[in-house]
């Protein structure tokens, strides 16, 4: 059964107030998170943060959705061929149409990185290539004095839940197992990529809201 009823911003906000407490809901609504890359990590982290009630998301990717993405990314068959920036906006808008979504369809470089993310409270690194991960982390840590960044490294394969960890290195948090690189025979699969994506979203809430007591 589907519903065609539309819900108001007030109804959704009041639900978040009840579920998350007014204090947390109000804080989250004022925050902006940047997501660098909208693949397995970024699309799933974006959905988790949208459901949590983040006020604004800056969503960055250059690529289009392909059939081969659907084994782990948040997209649907109907999104194939669309830019990931537009597809994720479509998905999040169906969860909560009142989140301020800024799609940025571009390749992140050392030159444009800070300009894209300068208004964010935190950046989630969610790109595929290791060199690009390095460039984004280096740029945020050297060109901003305060911005936290949450990266993912080591999430290929399946199982081995117990070795997925969080490493805290000043403003950098690194999620993953630090050993499982995607390679022939070691694919990226929804469960493990999704766990790390949700760990990234979870770490973002902890950094921005303070440690949960």
């Amino acid at each position: 059964m589907t519903t065609s009823r539309s819900f108001s911003n007030t109804e959704i906000s009041e639900t978040h107030n009840i579920l998350h407490t007014p204090e947390i809901a109000s804080k989250l609504k004022k925050l902006t998170i940047g997501i660098a890359g909208l693949g397995g990590l970024g699309s799933n982290a974006a959905v988790a943060l949208a459901r949590a009630g983040i006020g604004k998301l800056i969503l960055v990717d250059f690529d289009r959705v392909e059939l081969s993405n659907l084994n782990r990314q948040a997209y649907f068959l109907e999104h194939i061929g669309m830019y990931k920036t537009h597809a994720i906006v479509d998905i999040i808008s169906r969860i909560n149409p009142f989140i301020d979504l800024i799609p940025v369809r571009t390749t992140i470089t050392e030159k444009n990185c800070m300009a894209i993310f300068e208004s964010t409270d935190l950046v989630i690194e969610a790109v595929d290539e290791a060199e690009t991960k390095e460039m984004i982390i280096e740029t945020i840590l050297t060109e901003s004095e305060i911005m936290p960044i949450i990266a993912g490294s080591g999430m290929a394969g399946y199982g081995k839940n117990s070795i997925l960890t969080e490493t805290k290195l000043g403003r950098l948090r690194l999620l993953g197992d630090d050993i499982s690189e995607v390679s022939p025979g070691v694919p990226l699969m929804a469960p493990r990529v999704g766990i790390v994506a949700n760990m990234q979203a979870n770490a973002a809430l902890e950094i921005l809201l303070g440690e949960w007591k």
Binding site: G37, G39, G40, L41, G42, E125, A126, V127, D128, E129, A130, E131, K133, E134, M135, I137, E138, L141, T142, A151, G152, S153, G154, M155, A156, T167, L169, G170, L172, L174, G176, D178, I179, S180, E181, V182, S183, L188, V193
Partner: protein, 67 residues
């Protein structure tokens, strides 16, 4: 002496980032890693000209493909 990820290594005059990688057993000349020396990030573009000071505490973070 320098300490890299809690492990001690001998230091020598004009030790650079490439010497560090060799000491640590890396085979790639420019691996995808984040390097912090005494809590300062050394960007890859600075590796050619950077010399590691004696008694440095160094963090090397491997960054793996996949996302």
């Amino acid at each position: 002496m320098i300490v890299v990820n809690d492990e001690s290594f001998d230091w020598f005059e004009k030790m650079n980032i490439y010497n560090l990688f060799k000491t640590m057993g890396y085979t790639l000349k420019k691996p995808s890693v984040l390097i912090k020396v005494n809590n300062t990030v050394i960007k890859k573009s600075e590796w050619d000209d950077y010399f590691i000071p004696d008694n440095s505490e160094i963090t090397v973070v491997n960054l793996l493909r996949g996302g």
